[in-house]
Protein backbone atom coordinates (compact mmCIF):
# COMPACT_ATOMS: atom_id res chain seq x y z
CA UNK A 1 0.00 0.00 0.00
CA UNK A 2 1.48 3.36 -0.98
CA UNK A 3 0.63 6.79 0.31
CA UNK A 4 -2.16 8.59 -1.52
CA UNK A 5 -0.76 10.51 -4.45
CA UNK A 6 -2.01 13.90 -3.31
CA UNK A 7 0.30 13.96 -0.30
CA UNK A 8 3.69 15.24 -1.38
CA UNK A 9 5.70 12.53 0.25
CA UNK A 10 8.98 14.30 0.60
CA UNK A 11 7.81 17.64 1.82
CA UNK A 12 7.56 16.64 5.47
CA UNK A 13 10.79 14.79 5.43
CA UNK A 14 12.56 17.76 3.90
CA UNK A 15 11.12 20.10 6.48
CA UNK A 16 12.32 17.74 9.17
CA UNK A 17 15.77 17.72 7.65
CA UNK A 18 15.96 21.51 7.71
CA UNK A 19 14.92 21.50 11.32
CA UNK A 20 17.48 18.89 12.25
CA UNK A 21 20.14 20.85 10.42
CA UNK A 22 19.17 24.00 12.30
CA UNK A 23 19.42 22.16 15.63
CA UNK A 24 22.82 20.85 14.76
CA UNK A 25 24.07 24.29 13.87
CA UNK A 26 22.73 25.72 17.11
CA UNK A 27 24.34 22.93 19.11
CA UNK A 28 27.68 23.43 17.39
CA UNK A 29 27.54 27.19 17.99
CA UNK A 30 26.87 26.68 21.67
CA UNK A 31 29.74 24.25 22.08
CA UNK A 32 31.96 26.60 20.08
CA UNK A 33 31.02 29.56 22.29
CA UNK A 34 31.67 27.62 25.46
CA UNK A 35 35.03 26.55 24.10
CA UNK A 36 35.80 30.13 23.16
CA UNK A 37 34.97 31.39 26.64
CA UNK A 38 37.07 28.76 28.35
CA UNK A 39 39.92 29.38 25.94
CA UNK A 40 39.77 33.15 26.52
CA UNK A 41 39.78 32.72 30.26
CA UNK A 42 42.54 30.17 30.12
CA UNK A 43 44.75 32.35 27.91
CA UNK A 44 44.32 35.33 30.20
CA UNK A 45 44.89 33.12 33.23
CA UNK A 46 48.01 31.55 31.82
CA UNK A 47 50.50 34.12 33.17
CA UNK A 48 49.07 33.64 36.66
CA UNK A 49 49.04 29.87 36.25
CA UNK A 50 52.72 29.99 35.22
CA UNK A 51 53.55 32.37 38.04
CA UNK A 52 51.71 30.70 40.94
CA UNK A 53 51.02 27.14 39.79
CA UNK A 54 49.28 24.94 42.39
CA UNK A 55 50.40 27.33 45.06
CA UNK A 56 47.51 29.57 43.97
CA UNK A 57 45.08 27.05 45.43
CA UNK A 58 46.84 26.53 48.73
CA UNK A 59 47.88 30.06 49.59
CA UNK A 60 45.64 32.28 51.63
CA UNK A 61 47.35 35.55 50.76
CA UNK A 62 45.42 37.81 48.43
CA UNK A 63 47.39 41.07 48.37
CA UNK A 64 47.11 43.04 45.16
CA UNK A 65 49.51 45.71 46.46
CA UNK A 66 52.27 43.10 46.71
CA UNK A 67 51.10 41.04 43.73
CA UNK A 68 50.56 38.02 45.93
CA UNK A 69 47.56 35.95 45.03
CA UNK A 70 46.11 32.79 46.61
CA UNK A 71 42.48 31.70 46.64
CA UNK A 72 42.34 29.23 49.52
CA UNK A 73 39.97 31.46 51.56
CA UNK A 74 37.66 31.87 48.55
CA UNK A 75 37.73 28.16 47.78
CA UNK A 76 36.87 27.53 51.39
CA UNK A 77 34.16 30.20 51.36
CA UNK A 78 32.70 28.83 48.13
CA UNK A 79 32.62 25.28 49.41
CA UNK A 80 31.29 26.10 52.86
CA UNK A 81 28.66 28.62 51.79
CA UNK A 82 27.37 26.25 49.10
CA UNK A 83 27.39 23.26 51.41
CA UNK A 84 25.69 25.18 54.18
CA UNK A 85 23.09 26.46 51.72
CA UNK A 86 22.49 22.91 50.57
CA UNK A 87 22.14 21.63 54.12
CA UNK A 88 19.60 24.34 54.86
CA UNK A 89 17.71 24.04 51.59
CA UNK A 90 17.57 20.26 51.28
CA UNK A 91 15.12 19.52 54.13
CA UNK A 92 13.00 22.50 53.20
CA UNK A 93 13.10 21.70 49.49
CA UNK A 94 12.20 18.08 50.15
CA UNK A 95 9.34 19.14 52.36
CA UNK A 96 8.08 21.44 49.62
CA UNK A 97 8.47 18.68 47.05
CA UNK A 98 6.47 16.30 49.24
CA UNK A 99 3.79 18.90 49.80
CA UNK A 100 3.56 19.41 46.08
CA UNK A 101 3.53 15.74 45.12
CA UNK A 102 1.49 14.10 47.89
CA UNK A 103 -2.06 14.92 48.84
CA UNK A 104 -1.36 16.86 52.01
CA UNK A 105 -3.03 19.96 50.65
CA UNK A 106 -6.08 20.54 48.50
CA UNK A 107 -5.18 21.06 44.87
CA UNK A 108 -5.67 24.87 44.71
CA UNK A 109 -3.33 25.36 47.66
CA UNK A 110 -0.78 23.11 46.00
CA UNK A 111 -0.96 25.20 42.83
CA UNK A 112 -0.45 28.34 44.86
CA UNK A 113 2.56 26.88 46.62
CA UNK A 114 4.03 25.78 43.34
CA UNK A 115 3.62 29.27 41.94
CA UNK A 116 5.36 30.78 44.94
CA UNK A 117 8.31 28.44 44.53
CA UNK A 118 8.50 29.29 40.86
CA UNK A 119 8.52 32.96 41.75
CA UNK A 120 11.46 32.34 44.06
CA UNK A 121 13.30 30.95 41.06
CA UNK A 122 12.40 33.93 38.92
CA UNK A 123 13.52 36.58 41.42
CA UNK A 124 16.70 38.35 40.28
CA UNK A 125 19.80 37.77 42.33
CA UNK A 126 20.28 41.44 43.17
CA UNK A 127 16.84 41.57 44.76
CA UNK A 128 17.83 38.77 47.09
CA UNK A 129 20.96 40.72 47.83
CA UNK A 130 19.04 43.87 48.73
CA UNK A 131 16.60 41.94 50.85
CA UNK A 132 19.55 40.30 52.56
CA UNK A 133 21.20 43.61 53.32
CA UNK A 134 18.09 45.14 54.85
CA UNK A 135 16.60 42.12 56.57
CA UNK A 136 19.04 39.29 57.03
CA UNK A 137 22.17 41.22 57.91
CA UNK A 138 20.68 42.84 61.04
CA UNK A 139 19.05 39.56 62.04
CA UNK A 140 22.22 37.53 61.70
CA UNK A 141 24.15 40.25 63.52
CA UNK A 142 21.71 40.25 66.40
CA UNK A 143 21.20 36.51 66.83
CA UNK A 144 24.79 35.79 65.89
CA UNK A 145 25.97 37.71 68.90
CA UNK A 146 23.66 35.71 71.14
CA UNK A 147 24.82 32.40 69.66
CA UNK A 148 28.46 33.39 69.88
CA UNK A 149 27.97 34.44 73.46
CA UNK A 150 26.48 31.11 74.49
CA UNK A 151 27.94 28.61 72.06
CA UNK A 152 31.16 30.28 71.00
CA UNK A 153 33.15 27.24 72.12
CA UNK A 154 31.59 25.10 69.38
CA UNK A 155 33.76 24.94 66.24
CA UNK A 156 32.57 27.19 63.41
CA UNK A 157 30.44 29.24 65.81
CA UNK A 158 33.06 31.41 67.46
CA UNK A 159 32.89 35.19 67.43
CA UNK A 160 32.84 37.99 66.87
CA UNK A 161 29.59 37.87 64.93
CA UNK A 162 29.18 40.05 61.87
CA UNK A 163 26.05 40.75 59.86
CA UNK A 164 27.85 40.37 56.57
CA UNK A 165 29.02 36.84 57.01
CA UNK A 166 29.28 33.37 55.59
CA UNK A 167 26.01 32.46 57.28
CA UNK A 168 24.11 35.39 55.77
CA UNK A 169 25.30 34.46 52.31
CA UNK A 170 24.39 30.81 52.91
CA UNK A 171 20.90 31.70 54.05
CA UNK A 172 20.23 33.66 50.89
CA UNK A 173 21.84 30.95 48.79
CA UNK A 174 19.59 28.40 50.45
CA UNK A 175 16.58 30.38 49.39
CA UNK A 176 17.92 30.69 45.88
CA UNK A 177 18.59 26.98 45.37
CA UNK A 178 15.36 25.92 47.07
CA UNK A 179 13.36 25.98 43.80
CA UNK A 180 15.95 23.78 42.08
CA UNK A 181 15.78 21.19 44.82
CA UNK A 182 12.02 21.36 45.14
CA UNK A 183 11.34 21.15 41.41
CA UNK A 184 13.68 18.25 40.61
CA UNK A 185 12.74 16.31 43.75
CA UNK A 186 9.08 16.85 43.01
CA UNK A 187 9.55 15.58 39.50
CA UNK A 188 11.10 12.36 40.76
CA UNK A 189 8.38 11.94 43.40
CA UNK A 190 5.63 12.49 40.88
CA UNK A 191 7.24 9.93 38.58
CA UNK A 192 6.70 7.20 41.20
CA UNK A 193 3.95 4.88 39.99
CA UNK A 194 0.74 5.29 41.96
CA UNK A 195 0.63 1.52 42.51
CA UNK A 196 3.68 1.78 44.73
CA UNK A 197 1.96 4.23 47.06
CA UNK A 198 -1.16 2.10 47.09
CA UNK A 199 0.93 -0.98 47.80
CA UNK A 200 2.39 0.63 50.89
CA UNK A 201 -0.92 1.98 52.16
CA UNK A 202 -2.62 -1.37 51.57
CA UNK A 203 -0.05 -3.03 53.83
CA UNK A 204 -1.10 -0.72 56.61
CA UNK A 205 1.69 1.81 56.27
CA UNK A 206 0.98 5.30 57.54
CA UNK A 207 1.64 8.24 55.29
CA UNK A 208 4.89 8.90 57.11
CA UNK A 209 6.02 5.29 56.66
CA UNK A 210 5.01 5.36 53.02
CA UNK A 211 7.07 8.49 52.47
CA UNK A 212 10.15 7.46 54.39
CA UNK A 213 10.26 3.78 53.49
CA UNK A 214 8.96 3.68 49.94
CA UNK A 215 8.77 7.07 48.25
CA UNK A 216 12.01 8.69 49.39
CA UNK A 217 14.17 5.62 48.68
CA UNK A 218 12.60 5.43 45.24
CA UNK A 219 13.17 9.11 44.57
CA UNK A 220 16.61 9.16 46.21
CA UNK A 221 18.68 9.25 43.00
CA UNK A 222 16.61 12.18 41.75
CA UNK A 223 17.05 13.95 45.06
CA UNK A 224 20.80 13.38 44.90
CA UNK A 225 20.84 14.84 41.40
CA UNK A 226 18.80 17.81 42.61
CA UNK A 227 21.29 18.41 45.40
CA UNK A 228 24.27 18.27 43.08
CA UNK A 229 22.70 20.70 40.63
CA UNK A 230 21.71 23.00 43.49
CA UNK A 231 25.25 22.85 44.81
CA UNK A 232 26.56 23.85 41.39
CA UNK A 233 24.14 26.73 41.23
CA UNK A 234 25.14 27.90 44.72
CA UNK A 235 28.84 27.84 43.81
CA UNK A 236 28.30 30.00 40.77
CA UNK A 237 25.85 32.43 42.35
CA UNK A 238 27.44 35.86 42.40
CA UNK A 239 25.49 39.04 42.97
CA UNK A 240 23.62 38.29 46.17
CA UNK A 241 26.67 36.64 47.67
CA UNK A 242 28.94 39.54 46.76
CA UNK A 243 26.51 41.89 48.50
CA UNK A 244 26.28 39.85 51.69
CA UNK A 245 29.37 37.81 52.41
CA UNK A 246 31.55 40.65 53.63
CA UNK A 247 34.38 40.20 51.11
CA UNK A 248 37.11 39.37 53.50
CA UNK A 249 40.21 37.81 52.03
CA UNK A 250 41.14 36.23 55.34
CA UNK A 251 40.68 32.57 56.00
CA UNK A 252 38.34 32.30 58.97
CA UNK A 253 36.52 29.25 60.15
CA UNK A 254 33.49 30.79 61.83
CA UNK A 255 30.21 31.02 59.96
CA UNK A 256 29.70 34.40 61.63
CA UNK A 257 32.79 35.99 60.12
CA UNK A 258 32.99 37.74 56.78
CA UNK A 259 34.35 35.53 54.07
CA UNK A 260 34.49 35.43 50.30
CA UNK A 261 33.71 33.17 47.39
CA UNK A 262 35.36 32.86 44.00
CA UNK A 263 32.42 34.44 42.25
CA UNK A 264 32.11 37.31 44.73
CA UNK A 265 35.84 37.93 44.46
CA UNK A 266 35.54 38.29 40.70
CA UNK A 267 32.54 40.57 40.94
CA UNK A 268 34.16 42.86 43.49
CA UNK A 269 37.64 43.17 42.10
CA UNK A 270 37.39 43.10 38.37
CA UNK A 271 36.53 46.71 37.75
CA UNK A 272 39.67 47.96 39.49
CA UNK A 273 42.10 45.20 38.66
CA UNK A 274 45.25 45.70 36.61
CA UNK A 275 48.34 43.78 35.62
CA UNK A 276 48.92 40.43 37.25
CA UNK A 277 45.75 40.87 39.30
CA UNK A 278 43.71 40.44 36.12
CA UNK A 279 45.53 37.23 35.35
CA UNK A 280 45.00 36.02 38.90
CA UNK A 281 41.30 36.80 38.69
CA UNK A 282 41.15 34.93 35.40
CA UNK A 283 42.85 31.99 37.07
CA UNK A 284 40.18 32.13 39.78
CA UNK A 285 37.50 32.33 37.11
CA UNK A 286 38.99 29.32 35.37
CA UNK A 287 38.82 27.32 38.58
CA UNK A 288 35.26 28.46 39.17
CA UNK A 289 34.13 27.44 35.71
CA UNK A 290 35.78 24.04 36.10
CA UNK A 291 34.05 23.55 39.45
CA UNK A 292 30.57 24.58 38.33
CA UNK A 293 30.82 22.86 34.98
CA UNK A 294 32.05 19.67 36.63
CA UNK A 295 29.31 19.73 39.25
CA UNK A 296 26.63 20.35 36.67
CA UNK A 297 27.86 17.58 34.41
CA UNK A 298 27.89 15.12 37.31
CA UNK A 299 24.43 16.27 38.38
CA UNK A 300 23.04 15.89 34.87
CA UNK A 301 24.59 12.46 34.51
CA UNK A 302 23.05 11.29 37.77
CA UNK A 303 19.71 12.72 36.75
CA UNK A 304 19.90 11.12 33.31
CA UNK A 305 20.77 7.77 34.81
CA UNK A 306 17.92 7.90 37.31
CA UNK A 307 15.46 8.81 34.58
CA UNK A 308 16.66 5.93 32.47
CA UNK A 309 16.50 3.56 35.44
CA UNK A 310 12.96 4.65 36.24
CA UNK A 311 11.93 4.38 32.62
CA UNK A 312 13.34 0.87 32.39
CA UNK A 313 11.89 -0.21 35.71
CA UNK A 314 8.30 0.49 34.87
Amino acid sequence: MSAPAFIPKNRYRRRRDYFRCFCWIAAVIIIFLLGLIIDEIFTKALPAIRHFGWHFLTSSEWRPNRDLYGVLPMLFGTAVSSLLALLLALPLGLAVALFLSENFLPRPLRQLMRMIVEMLAATPSVVYGLWGIFTLVPLVQHYGEIVVHHCGWIPFLHGPAYGNSLLTASLVLALMVLPTIAAISRASLVAIPETLREGAYALGATRWETITRVLLPYAAPGIVAASILAFGRAMGETMAVAMLIGNSQRLTLSIFSPSNTLSALLANQFSEAEGLQINALMYAAFILILLTLGTNIIGELVLRRTQRALGGGS
Partner: protein
Protein backbone atom coordinates in the same frame (compact mmCIF):
# COMPACT_ATOMS: atom_id res chain seq x y z
CA UNK B 1 -33.21 -3.40 61.55
CA UNK B 2 -30.13 -4.79 63.20
CA UNK B 3 -27.84 -5.92 60.38
CA UNK B 4 -25.92 -8.45 62.42
CA UNK B 5 -29.08 -10.40 63.04
CA UNK B 6 -29.53 -11.10 59.36
CA UNK B 7 -28.64 -14.58 58.27
CA UNK B 8 -26.17 -14.60 55.44
CA UNK B 9 -28.53 -16.39 53.12
CA UNK B 10 -31.10 -13.66 53.57
CA UNK B 11 -28.65 -11.17 52.19
CA UNK B 12 -28.38 -12.88 48.87
CA UNK B 13 -30.62 -11.86 46.03
CA UNK B 14 -33.76 -13.87 46.58
CA UNK B 15 -33.41 -15.60 43.27
CA UNK B 16 -30.03 -17.07 44.05
CA UNK B 17 -29.02 -18.39 47.40
CA UNK B 18 -25.80 -19.87 48.58
CA UNK B 19 -26.85 -23.29 49.68
CA UNK B 20 -25.19 -24.21 52.94
CA UNK B 21 -24.25 -27.66 51.70
CA UNK B 22 -20.49 -27.84 51.37
CA UNK B 23 -20.09 -24.29 52.58
CA UNK B 24 -19.71 -23.59 56.25
CA UNK B 25 -22.36 -21.03 56.65
CA UNK B 26 -20.36 -18.98 59.01
CA UNK B 27 -20.54 -15.45 57.64
CA UNK B 28 -17.24 -13.67 57.66
CA UNK B 29 -17.64 -10.60 55.54
CA UNK B 30 -21.01 -9.03 55.07
CA UNK B 31 -21.96 -6.23 52.73
CA UNK B 32 -25.15 -4.51 53.72
CA UNK B 33 -27.16 -2.08 51.57
CA UNK B 34 -23.94 -0.70 50.25
CA UNK B 35 -23.85 2.34 47.96
CA UNK B 36 -20.71 4.06 46.80
CA UNK B 37 -20.11 7.44 45.20
CA UNK B 38 -17.13 9.00 43.43
CA UNK B 39 -18.08 12.60 44.00
CA UNK B 40 -21.62 12.90 42.69
CA UNK B 41 -21.40 9.79 40.55
CA UNK B 42 -22.87 6.69 42.16
CA UNK B 43 -20.94 3.56 41.19
CA UNK B 44 -22.33 0.90 43.54
CA UNK B 45 -26.04 0.41 44.13
CA UNK B 46 -27.46 -1.32 47.16
CA UNK B 47 -25.06 -4.25 47.32
CA UNK B 48 -25.97 -7.05 49.72
CA UNK B 49 -24.17 -10.34 50.20
CA UNK B 50 -22.19 -12.38 52.67
CA UNK B 51 -18.94 -14.23 52.25
CA UNK B 52 -17.96 -17.21 54.37
CA UNK B 53 -14.53 -17.60 55.87
CA UNK B 54 -11.72 -19.53 54.09
CA UNK B 55 -13.37 -19.58 50.72
CA UNK B 56 -12.41 -18.05 47.42
CA UNK B 57 -14.97 -15.65 46.03
CA UNK B 58 -14.55 -14.23 42.57
CA UNK B 59 -16.02 -10.98 41.32
CA UNK B 60 -16.83 -11.04 37.65
CA UNK B 61 -18.55 -8.55 35.39
CA UNK B 62 -17.94 -6.19 32.53
CA UNK B 63 -15.42 -3.38 32.70
CA UNK B 64 -16.64 -0.49 34.81
CA UNK B 65 -19.21 -2.57 36.66
CA UNK B 66 -17.69 -1.63 40.01
CA UNK B 67 -15.73 -4.76 40.96
CA UNK B 68 -12.57 -2.92 41.87
CA UNK B 69 -14.51 -0.20 43.60
CA UNK B 70 -16.19 -2.71 45.88
CA UNK B 71 -12.96 -4.61 46.46
CA UNK B 72 -11.17 -1.44 47.46
CA UNK B 73 -13.85 -0.74 50.03
CA UNK B 74 -13.01 -3.80 52.08
CA UNK B 75 -9.70 -2.29 53.15
CA UNK B 76 -10.93 1.27 52.72
CA UNK B 77 -8.38 2.05 50.02
CA UNK B 78 -10.93 4.25 48.31
CA UNK B 79 -10.61 6.71 51.13
CA UNK B 80 -7.27 7.81 49.71
CA UNK B 81 -9.26 9.48 46.95
CA UNK B 82 -10.86 12.87 47.54
CA UNK B 83 -14.62 13.27 47.49
CA UNK B 84 -15.68 9.65 47.88
CA UNK B 85 -18.66 8.64 50.01
CA UNK B 86 -20.52 5.49 50.89
CA UNK B 87 -23.78 4.46 52.42
CA UNK B 88 -24.67 1.18 54.06
CA UNK B 89 -22.14 -0.98 55.80
CA UNK B 90 -19.51 -3.66 55.48
CA UNK B 91 -18.85 -5.90 58.45
CA UNK B 92 -16.07 -8.33 59.18
CA UNK B 93 -16.92 -10.85 61.87
CA UNK B 94 -19.91 -8.73 62.72
CA UNK B 95 -18.00 -5.50 63.27
CA UNK B 96 -18.42 -2.59 60.95
CA UNK B 97 -15.18 -1.65 59.22
CA UNK B 98 -16.35 1.94 59.14
CA UNK B 99 -16.85 2.07 62.88
CA UNK B 100 -15.12 5.01 64.50
CA UNK B 101 -13.27 2.65 66.82
CA UNK B 102 -11.65 0.81 63.89
CA UNK B 103 -8.21 2.03 63.05
CA UNK B 104 -7.76 2.11 59.33
CA UNK B 105 -4.12 1.05 59.68
CA UNK B 106 -5.12 -1.96 61.77
CA UNK B 107 -7.83 -2.85 59.30
CA UNK B 108 -5.40 -2.78 56.40
CA UNK B 109 -2.96 -4.95 58.29
CA UNK B 110 -5.68 -7.56 58.61
CA UNK B 111 -6.34 -7.47 54.88
CA UNK B 112 -3.71 -8.19 52.28
CA UNK B 113 -4.11 -6.75 48.82
CA UNK B 114 -2.61 -7.82 45.51
CA UNK B 115 -2.85 -5.44 42.59
CA UNK B 116 -3.31 -5.87 38.88
CA UNK B 117 0.20 -4.70 38.16
CA UNK B 118 2.77 -6.13 40.51
CA UNK B 119 4.20 -3.38 42.66
CA UNK B 120 7.29 -4.54 44.50
CA UNK B 121 9.13 -1.78 46.31
CA UNK B 122 12.48 -0.93 44.75
CA UNK B 123 14.35 -2.67 47.53
CA UNK B 124 15.66 -6.14 48.18
CA UNK B 125 13.45 -9.20 47.95
CA UNK B 126 13.93 -9.69 51.67
CA UNK B 127 12.92 -6.15 52.58
CA UNK B 128 9.84 -6.41 50.41
CA UNK B 129 8.58 -9.43 52.28
CA UNK B 130 9.31 -8.08 55.75
CA UNK B 131 7.87 -4.63 55.01
CA UNK B 132 4.60 -5.30 56.87
CA UNK B 133 6.54 -6.58 59.87
CA UNK B 134 8.90 -3.66 59.87
CA UNK B 135 6.09 -1.16 59.97
CA UNK B 136 4.56 -3.12 62.80
CA UNK B 137 7.82 -2.48 64.61
CA UNK B 138 9.19 -6.01 64.51
CA UNK B 139 12.96 -6.08 64.14
CA UNK B 140 13.78 -9.53 65.50
CA UNK B 141 16.08 -11.13 62.97
CA UNK B 142 14.95 -14.67 63.66
CA UNK B 143 11.31 -13.81 63.30
CA UNK B 144 11.91 -11.82 60.12
CA UNK B 145 13.95 -14.62 58.58
CA UNK B 146 11.33 -17.15 59.45
CA UNK B 147 8.58 -14.99 57.97
CA UNK B 148 10.52 -14.51 54.76
CA UNK B 149 10.98 -18.24 54.33
CA UNK B 150 7.42 -19.11 55.26
CA UNK B 151 5.86 -16.45 53.03
CA UNK B 152 8.08 -17.20 50.06
CA UNK B 153 7.43 -20.92 50.44
CA UNK B 154 3.69 -20.23 50.49
CA UNK B 155 3.95 -18.58 47.11
CA UNK B 156 6.37 -21.22 45.78
CA UNK B 157 9.08 -18.66 45.30
CA UNK B 158 11.50 -19.74 48.00
CA UNK B 159 13.51 -22.17 45.92
CA UNK B 160 13.82 -19.67 43.09
CA UNK B 161 15.11 -16.78 45.16
CA UNK B 162 16.54 -18.16 48.38
CA UNK B 163 20.10 -17.50 47.21
CA UNK B 164 19.45 -13.91 46.23
CA UNK B 165 17.22 -12.47 48.92
CA UNK B 166 19.44 -9.39 49.05
CA UNK B 167 18.97 -8.54 45.40
CA UNK B 168 16.65 -5.83 44.18
CA UNK B 169 13.13 -7.12 43.72
CA UNK B 170 12.82 -5.28 40.41
CA UNK B 171 15.20 -7.81 38.88
CA UNK B 172 12.64 -10.61 39.12
CA UNK B 173 10.42 -11.74 36.26
CA UNK B 174 6.85 -10.49 36.05
CA UNK B 175 5.39 -13.66 37.47
CA UNK B 176 7.97 -13.80 40.23
CA UNK B 177 7.28 -10.18 41.12
CA UNK B 178 3.58 -10.86 41.40
CA UNK B 179 4.22 -13.88 43.62
CA UNK B 180 6.55 -11.72 45.70
CA UNK B 181 3.74 -9.23 46.12
CA UNK B 182 1.46 -12.02 47.29
CA UNK B 183 4.15 -13.14 49.72
CA UNK B 184 4.40 -9.57 50.98
CA UNK B 185 0.63 -9.36 51.33
CA UNK B 186 0.48 -12.50 53.47
CA UNK B 187 3.66 -11.88 55.46
CA UNK B 188 1.79 -9.92 58.10
CA UNK B 189 -0.60 -12.86 58.49
CA UNK B 190 -3.83 -11.18 57.49
CA UNK B 191 -7.17 -12.98 57.46
CA UNK B 192 -8.33 -11.73 54.13
CA UNK B 193 -6.61 -11.50 50.79
CA UNK B 194 -7.98 -9.18 48.12
CA UNK B 195 -6.74 -9.67 44.58
CA UNK B 196 -7.62 -7.34 41.74
CA UNK B 197 -6.95 -9.11 38.45
CA UNK B 198 -3.68 -10.51 39.78
CA UNK B 199 -2.88 -12.44 36.62
CA UNK B 200 -3.86 -9.97 33.94
CA UNK B 201 -0.25 -9.06 33.19
CA UNK B 202 1.09 -12.60 33.29
CA UNK B 203 1.66 -15.37 30.78
CA UNK B 204 -0.31 -18.64 31.03
CA UNK B 205 2.38 -20.50 32.96
CA UNK B 206 2.78 -17.79 35.58
CA UNK B 207 -1.00 -17.53 35.74
CA UNK B 208 -1.36 -21.26 36.33
CA UNK B 209 1.14 -21.02 39.16
CA UNK B 210 -0.76 -18.24 40.85
CA UNK B 211 -4.06 -20.05 40.42
CA UNK B 212 -2.59 -23.12 42.11
CA UNK B 213 -1.41 -20.84 44.82
CA UNK B 214 -4.83 -19.33 45.38
CA UNK B 215 -6.38 -22.74 45.87
CA UNK B 216 -3.61 -23.54 48.32
CA UNK B 217 -3.91 -20.22 50.17
CA UNK B 218 -7.62 -20.51 50.83
CA UNK B 219 -6.83 -22.99 53.60
CA UNK B 220 -5.55 -20.02 55.54
CA UNK B 221 -7.17 -16.96 54.05
CA UNK B 222 -10.50 -15.69 52.92
CA UNK B 223 -9.83 -14.67 49.36
CA UNK B 224 -11.69 -12.32 47.07
CA UNK B 225 -10.44 -12.16 43.52
CA UNK B 226 -11.53 -9.89 40.70
CA UNK B 227 -11.07 -11.51 37.34
CA UNK B 228 -12.00 -11.09 33.72
CA UNK B 229 -11.32 -14.71 32.97
CA UNK B 230 -14.33 -16.99 33.29
CA UNK B 231 -12.00 -19.98 33.27
CA UNK B 232 -10.03 -18.53 36.12
CA UNK B 233 -13.13 -17.83 38.14
CA UNK B 234 -14.38 -21.35 37.64
CA UNK B 235 -10.99 -22.89 38.35
CA UNK B 236 -10.15 -21.10 41.58
CA UNK B 237 -13.31 -19.91 43.25
CA UNK B 238 -15.98 -21.51 45.38
CA UNK B 239 -18.37 -18.61 45.04
CA UNK B 240 -18.88 -16.15 42.26
CA UNK B 241 -20.50 -12.75 42.27
CA UNK B 242 -21.56 -11.19 38.99
CA UNK B 243 -21.74 -7.42 38.81
CA UNK B 244 -23.21 -5.20 36.17
CA UNK B 245 -23.62 -1.41 36.16
CA UNK B 246 -22.72 -1.21 39.83
CA UNK B 247 -25.29 -3.76 40.92
CA UNK B 248 -24.78 -7.25 42.24
CA UNK B 249 -26.79 -9.28 39.76
CA UNK B 250 -26.17 -12.78 41.01
CA UNK B 251 -24.16 -14.45 43.74
CA UNK B 252 -23.91 -18.19 44.05
CA UNK B 253 -21.74 -21.25 44.04
CA UNK B 254 -19.31 -20.95 41.20
CA UNK B 255 -20.41 -24.12 39.47
CA UNK B 256 -24.01 -22.98 39.68
CA UNK B 257 -23.22 -19.61 38.17
CA UNK B 258 -21.43 -21.24 35.31
CA UNK B 259 -23.82 -24.11 34.69
CA UNK B 260 -27.22 -22.82 35.65
CA UNK B 261 -27.29 -19.08 36.16
CA UNK B 262 -30.66 -17.75 37.15
CA UNK B 263 -30.37 -14.26 35.73
CA UNK B 264 -30.41 -13.71 31.98
CA UNK B 265 -27.68 -11.04 32.28
CA UNK B 266 -25.36 -13.50 33.99
CA UNK B 267 -25.90 -16.09 31.34
CA UNK B 268 -25.30 -13.58 28.57
CA UNK B 269 -22.09 -12.45 30.18
CA UNK B 270 -20.56 -15.84 30.86
CA UNK B 271 -21.46 -17.15 27.47
CA UNK B 272 -19.82 -14.13 25.91
CA UNK B 273 -22.97 -12.71 24.41
CA UNK B 274 -22.44 -9.56 26.35
CA UNK B 275 -21.82 -6.12 24.76
Amino acid sequence: MNPTSINSTELLPSSSKVTPSGVTNETFIKVINFDFFYGKKQTLFNINFAIPSKHVTSFIGPSGSGKSTLLRNFNRMNELLPGVRHEGDITIEGRSIFDASIEIIALRRRIGMVFQKSNPFPRSIYENVVFPLRIMGCHKRAHLNETVERSLRSVALWDEVKDRLGENALGLSGGQMQRLCIARAIAGQPDILLMDEPCSALDPIATAKIEELIVELKKEFTIIIVTHSMQQASRVSDLTAFFNFGKLIEFDHTNRIFTAPIEKQTEDYITGRFG
